[in-house]
């Protein structure tokens, strides 16, 4: 596949992630921050998100597994996850966290467990998508091309 084709494929792929609501405008903000002085900025920030998310999802899972659930603690973890996902534009994960916090407020264990499942699915989904996106970018760069900038309006 030649560079132009790969670039078009990347743009279409990225667009689809926005259309499906998997990513939001914040992800574009990250891409716009990237420059020659920090060409791996987006990958670095997203990696931090992956690390944060996996740790927090583990913490939440363990906390909900206890005989007596410490909801304020669970809520604090969810708040953090909401923040990280919002910072990278992982919209569905962020929205899942917003819903989750309502269950925490109600001290609803079943609701929380279902929400956690949902968030885990959304997280792994966005993780796969972003890793695929980064692979596409790498292929373009390896072929000597440059990664196209997404337009803000589409």
């Amino acid at each position: 596949m030649e560079v132009g084709q790969m670039q078009r494929r990347l743009i279409e792929y990225t667009k689809s992630l926005f259309m499906e609501g998997i990513l939001d405008d914040q992800f574009l903000q990250l891409q716009q921050l990237q420059d020659e002085s920090n060409p791996d900025f987006v990958v670095e920030v997203v990696s931090l998100f992956f690390q944060d998310a996996e740790k927090l999802l583990n913490d939440i899972t363990r906390a909900l597994d206890l005989q007596s659930v410490d909801f304020p603690k669970v809520d604090a973890h969810v708040h953090q996850l909401k923040g990280s996902s919002a910072s990278v534009g992982a919209q569905r994960v962020k929205n899942g966290c917003i819903a989750f916090r309502n269950f925490c407020e109600e001290q609803n264990v079943d609701g929380s467990l279902r929400c956690l499942q949902q968030i885990k699915q959304e997280y792994y989904h966005v993780k796969n998508k972003l890793e695929a996106l980064f692979r596409l970018e790498q292929q373009i760069v390896a072929a000597g091309g440059s990664v196209p900038m997404m337009e803000l309006s589409f």
Binding site: L33, V45, L48, G83, S84, A86, S87, V88
Partner: protein
């Protein structure tokens, strides 16, 4: 509100031509991800940035820790403090209060950022002297605006930033 000696109210690149006159911002946030983000936003806007992961470390950097002196701190160089509201230990609000209680630091503008839009929280921070309350995640347009306002908020220790042409 201090009056800037410059007549220009909008930021112009001419006024910041001096190489070592980049505004110095202290950014406080317990999230490494958010610290990385705010740092990039600020450096892309030609600001010098120091980050701190909590209120205590921020106070130490400002020379306001227990038994400290502002003498060897970055205190005299900081033009703006941006702090997250929700932090374990000392919240951004508590940090704001400590800064406003300090005779040397009270005039440095403090901006509070939060992922949550809570009117009572916003009012509390503004009443305590926060320059502004902004919603996270911060965007380039937010930082551009702050950057512009920085030319009006000059640090009394550092003198006027904007020469105004």
């Amino acid at each position: 509100m201090r009056m800037a000696s410059s007549s220009s109210s909008s930021f112009s690149s001419a006024s910041m031509a001096l190489g070592d006159e980049k505004p110095h911002v202290l950014a406080v946030d317990d999230s490494l991800l958010d610290r990385k983000l705010i740092e990039k936003l600020l450096t892309n806007s030609s600001c010098k940035v120091t980050t701190a992961e909590n209120g205590q470390k921020a106070l130490e950097l400002l020379g306001l820790g227990d038994g400290q002196h502002t003498l060897n701190s970055i205190a005299s160089k900081v033009n703006l403090i941006i702090t997250d509201y929700c932090m374990p230990g000392m919240t951004g609000y508590e940090l704001l209060k400590k800064i406003k209680e300090s005779p040397t630091m009270k005039d440095i503008p403090v901006v509070i950022v939060s992922s949550e839009n809570v009117p009572t929280r916003i009012k509390k921070c503004l009443d305590e002297g926060a320059e502004e309350f902004m919603l996270k995640p911060l965007q380039k347009s937010d930082v551009n605006r702050l950057r512009c306002q920085l030319t009006k908020f000059s640090n009394p220790h550092k003198g006027m930033l904007c020469m105004g042409r």
